[in-house]
Amino acid sequence: MLPNWLTTTEAYEPPKGGGTFAIKTMRSFGHMMGRLQFQQGHEKRHALPALVKFFLLVLAIVFLSWTHQLVALLAYAAVLLLYLSTWPPQDIWKVLRGALIAVVFSGILLAPAMMLRPEGIPNNLQLVCKVFLTVMMVSIFNHTTQWNHITGALRKLHVPGVVIFTLDLTLKYIVILGRFIYDVLTSYSLRAVGNHRKKYKSVGGVMGITFIRGANMSQEMYEAMRCRGFTDDYRGL
């Protein structure tokens, strides 16, 4: 038999104010997940092999750090922006946003130096410009190359299997665990119908179960891989 309170209609009036913690966290997490999914890479069928792109990226970054010619930096920027202009607007914004955040961050770090030594401003601005271009190139590489192709390229460069394995699993599990946390926060927000007196305890709970979930998943996956013949020698796809 249902208890009496369960057979009646609850006349509930939520307290005013507060209690938006779960919803806000959930929204920001949702945005973050969107960004992570964006980083899966949208590779074109006839794109350059990941290894070649990787070499080109490293070469470009080395060249960029060596150059002291403003014209060269501007030429770099022009080429990259021209290439970016062929992309869909939302993807352009995602790439530029990361680069602009890096610019702001490096600008803040260099601001005291620029104020104390005004004669060094051109050099500092060049440095900020290099940060912008480097982040943009890495972001473009990341966006146009699938992760499994990157790990394949690293393997060809004789990077140890265990490093690639760790990188591969980390990226995959960040997305999976991110989705899990998002779902937990969703269920949390549905039951958070009032003012939460001990919200940090619940945050601890969410972090705790995510940690346990992560540990269980990695153990289960390792066991499943052993059952399918995995001998600690990882070969990326």
């Binding site: 038999m1 249902l2 208890p3 309170w5 369960l6 057979t7 009646t8 209609t9 609850e10 509930y12 009036e13 939520p14 307290p15 005013k16 104010g17 209690g19 938006t20 919803i23 899990f180 779902d183 937990v184 969703t186 269920s187 949390y188 927000s189 549905l190 039951r191 958070a192 119908v193 009032g194 003012n195 939460h196 007196r197 619940s202 709970g205 969410v206 705790g208 179960i209 346990i212 979930r213």
Partner: protein, 217 residues
């Protein structure tokens, strides 16, 4: 009198061209047990997200107790809390519903949110634990429980809010015979109390014993 009404709703996920469903209309009167059926990917979970105010239709209207539920309406924190208290949602995967250290605290989470006194909270928690035969698990950590036990704890934690509408996504998935029978008994009592439920299930017996109406997606 309808508890909720869907008027020609459609839904398409951002960045996708194909809609999940289009022109879906549905009326659920107070006290009805509606069974929702459909293949995997037919949009049942998306529909549940809409009913819970987690997603919003790209076209059409969702009306709950005479009020249109929109993103703007739920942006008001007070309205959102009131709305969520009235709808209890059991996710298909109970793992995501259990985030407290003990089963007791898990079930007490909702009533404590509602600002009930600790005596009232204790009464509700004990009643819910008795209802789902989980009193002996009160001090256990939810993540150590079996799949069936987790589902019971998750349902008990939803019921503790005393919602007017219960939405269950594949409630029998992963349950053994005894747990199924216990859950079936509870759902029949829920129905007998004149409360509304919407259940997504492929279970023929549940449909036969409980369903007032069946909607196939």
């Amino acid at each position: 009198m309808n508890l909720l009404e869907l008027q020609g709703i459609s839904f398409t996920y951002p960045d996708e061209e194909e809609p999940v469903f289009t022109g879906l209309s549905l009326e659920v009167p107070v006290g009805q047990s509606l069974i929702l059926r459909g293949d995997n990917g037919s949009g049942k979970t998306t529909l549940f997200r809409i009913l819970n105010g987690l997603s919003f239709p790209t076209a059409g209207k969702y009306i709950f107790q005479g009020t249109e539920i929109t993103e703007k309406y739920l942006r008001d924190n007070g309205q959102a809390k009131k709305f969520h208290q009235r709808i209890g949602y059991l996710f298909q995967n109970p793992d995501i519903m259990l985030f407290n250290g003990k089963v007791y605290d898990e079930i007490a989470f909702g009533p404590r949110q509602m600002g009930l006194s600790e005596e009232e909270v204790a009464k509700r928690v004990e009643d819910c634990m008795e209802l789902f035969h989980i009193t002996h698990l009160a001090d256990k950590a939810p993540y150590h429980l079996s799949g069936g036990q987790k589902k019971r704890v998750a349902l008990a934690s939803v019921i503790a809010l005393n919602p007017q509408l219960l939405i269950l996504d594949e409630p029998f998935a992963g349950l053994d015979g005894k747990s199924k029978e216990d859950l079936m008994t509870f759902l029949q009592q829920w129905k007998a109390a004149g409360k509304t439920q919407i259940i997504a299930t492929h279970d023929e017996e549940l449909t036969k014993r409980l369903g007032d109406a069946v909607y196939t997606m």
